[in-house]
């Protein structure tokens, strides 16, 4: 598959322009963690839902690797290489960890009815799942039902599952929310590894410490519009951002 081409990894550019919600446009590149912050209700999760095709956009333009994905359905977008996690975790609760991750390989077989009747437990995929599960630190829980895992593990399972799609762009919606400090730190390490693989990451995060640590570039949203973009230092000193978070001085 084209998406595995490592030379492409380095200079693949995913452009996401999104004036639909009163003008949010930015581009994100492979191998970069782009932070998306903003007060509650700023439209961060909505933005993810638009990119991943959960809501059909009413206008504007979203392009990925030079092609428009505006009219694509959610399952088509994920097959193109945009994977996501959810703000409130959504693993397949009654499937074990291994099977959760295996779901991601199905789309290679769906186009041919005959091939999709073949068994899903196949050695090459199982090996790949093993590697992913290991990277996510879940190797001891391969056969555990997702519903029995603690929150931090579920979040890492979601990332492992998303990585099994072999994405070029990964959308992470508040990965550290609800986690203890050590759990969050482990997750951040996993996200760094993902970036170092050349995968572009869009990160919605409320924990400023985490955002400032991980991201070289940050986009700030407020009321569905982009109000600032820049390095963590620039964002920290931007009066518009301070106003959005703390309110106007009267």
């Amino acid at each position: 598959m084209r998406l595995n081409d490592p030379s492409r990894c380095q200079n693949s550019e995913q452009r996401i322009r999104r004036p639909a919600r009163d003008g949010v446009s930015f581009t994100s590149q492979g191998g970069e963690i782009l932070g998306i912050i903003g007060p509650n209700g700023a439209g961060k999760t909505t933005l993810f839902n638009l990119i991943s095709g959960v809501y059909p956009p009413s206008g504007g333009e979203i392009s990925f690797q030079g092609k428009s994905i505006l009219r694509l359905k959610a399952h088509q977008i994920s097959r193109l290489g945009i994977a996501r996690t959810f703000q409130i975790v959504r693993p397949f609760q009654n499937l074990d960890v291994e099977t959760n991750v295996l779901v991601a390989y199905g789309h290679r077989f769906y186009p041919s009815f005959w091939r999709s009747t073949g068994p899903f437990r196949q050695a090459p995929f199982l090996r790949e799942v093993q590697t992913l599960v290991h990277r996510a630190g879940l190797q001891a829980y391969t056969k555990h039902m997702a519903k029995n895992l603690p929150l931090g593990f579920k979040k890492r399972l979601e990332i492992a599952r998303a990585l099994a799609l072999r994405p070029r762009l990964l959308l992470l919606d508040e990965p550290s929310a609800g986690l203890r400090f050590e759990e969050a730190a482990q997750l951040m390490e996993l996200i760094r590894q993902v970036r170092d693989q050349g995968i572009g990451v869009l990160l919605i995060e409320h924990n400023m410490q985490v955002v400032m640590d991980l991201c070289k570039r940050i986009v700030v949203l407020d009321h569905g519009a982009k109000i600032a973009e820049g390095s963590p230092e620039e964002i920290r000193s931007n009066p518009l951002v301070i106003q959005a978070y703390l309110g106007k001085e009267t």
């Binding site: 359905k73 994977a83 693993p91 099977t99 779901v103 789309h107 899903f120």
Partner: protein, 300 residues
């Protein structure tokens, strides 16, 4: 020799097991609740009956065609169901059942309230099949269906169904074409229900719209839920137990729907996974008794 009465019960149970199995594909595997499964059972029965009595098709052609027609109608009726979920889906499928039953009842083309008679058991080797032979035929077909179910269950299709059942939105995010796999479940489930309908018509020799009403749908659903929704053997065990119950005692027969209702309530409250489902009490009881027997063996 097996008595006629006994073989009648066996055949009835065989047909119910096939029905429960087919509903389990839609509701158990793909997670789409259906309260109108008897509609497809009826479509199969009517197709087969009319092809046999009207067009003179032999059993061996009319019954497979019944499955095909039920599968096609199931797909068409399944399309409005794709836009709705959960409780709305339950009501939509229920509505489908009432509409289909009403069409059979009010259109003279389908024989109206009188139904269709004069359907016979299939012929082979130049004579009519005996009832035990018919039962064996149903059994053979059912074994084939179970093998098919096993294959599909371990396949990418089965995995896609499981992901849709667990979380539709997450499934989409994993590249699963939710619409396509839901339609596939409806096709397969309705076609097998239609097949069961064909077998039913040729066994009863006479069918009426009332055989395929909402009550029948609930009976089928009770079997699936009682045995263990989503498991391969659960719905069959459900069909066997709930199929035999009304036969062993008359009072149960008279209060059949009431007893099924109470059973459904009880199962939902205490064993939502069904007799053979996950977290069932049976394996635990079994393991405990084995352990106890083992302990007794050691002390002796």
């Amino acid at each position: 020799m097996i008595s006629g009465y006994f073989i009648t019960i066996l055949i009835t149970i065989g047909i119910y097991a096939m029905l429960a199995h087919s509903l389990n594909i839609i509701t158990g595997h793909a997670g789409q609740i259906s309260l109108g499964h008897a509609a497809f059972f009826g479509i199969g029965a009517y197709t087969s009956a009319m092809l046999y009595t009207g067009a003179g098709f032999p059993f061996w052609i009319s019954v497979p065609l019944a499955a095909v027609v039920a599968g096609i109608v199931g797909t068409l009726l399944g399309i409005p169901c794709l836009r709705v979920r959960d409780d709305f889906l339950a009501i939509t499928t229920m509505g489908i059942n009432f509409v289909v039953e009403a069409i059979f009842l009010y259109l003279p083309f389908f024989g109206g309230a009188m139904g269709i008679g004069g359907i016979n058991l299939p012929k082979w080797f130049g004579r009519e099949m005996t009832k035990p032979e018919y039962f064996i035929l149903i059994l053979v077909v059912f074994v084939f269906l179970l093998l098919l179910d096993r294959r599909v269950g371990h396949s990418w299709i089965g995995l896609a169904w499981a992901s849709i059942r667990e979380d539709e939105e997450a499934a989409r995010a994993m590249g699963v074409d939710v619409v396509r796999f839901k339609v596939l479940a409806f096709i397969l489930g309705s076609a097998i229900a239609g097949l069961a309908g064909g077998f039913y018509a040729h066994f009863l020799t006479f069918i009426m719209p009332q055989n395929f009403g909402f009550g029948q749908s609930i009976v089928i659903l009770s079997m699936v839920v009682f045995g263990g929704i989503g498991s391969r053997w659960g719905p069959i065990v459900g069909a066997v137990i709930l199929g035999i119950l009304p036969e062993v005692s008359r009072p149960i027969m008279e209060y059949r729907i009431l007893i099924y209702g109470i059973l459904l309530l009880g199962m939902m409250r205490f064993q939502p996974g069904g007799l053979l489902g996950p977290e069932s009490i049976l394996p635990r009881v079994f393991r405990q008794s084995v352990r106890r027997a083992g302990a007794r063996g050691e002390t002796q």
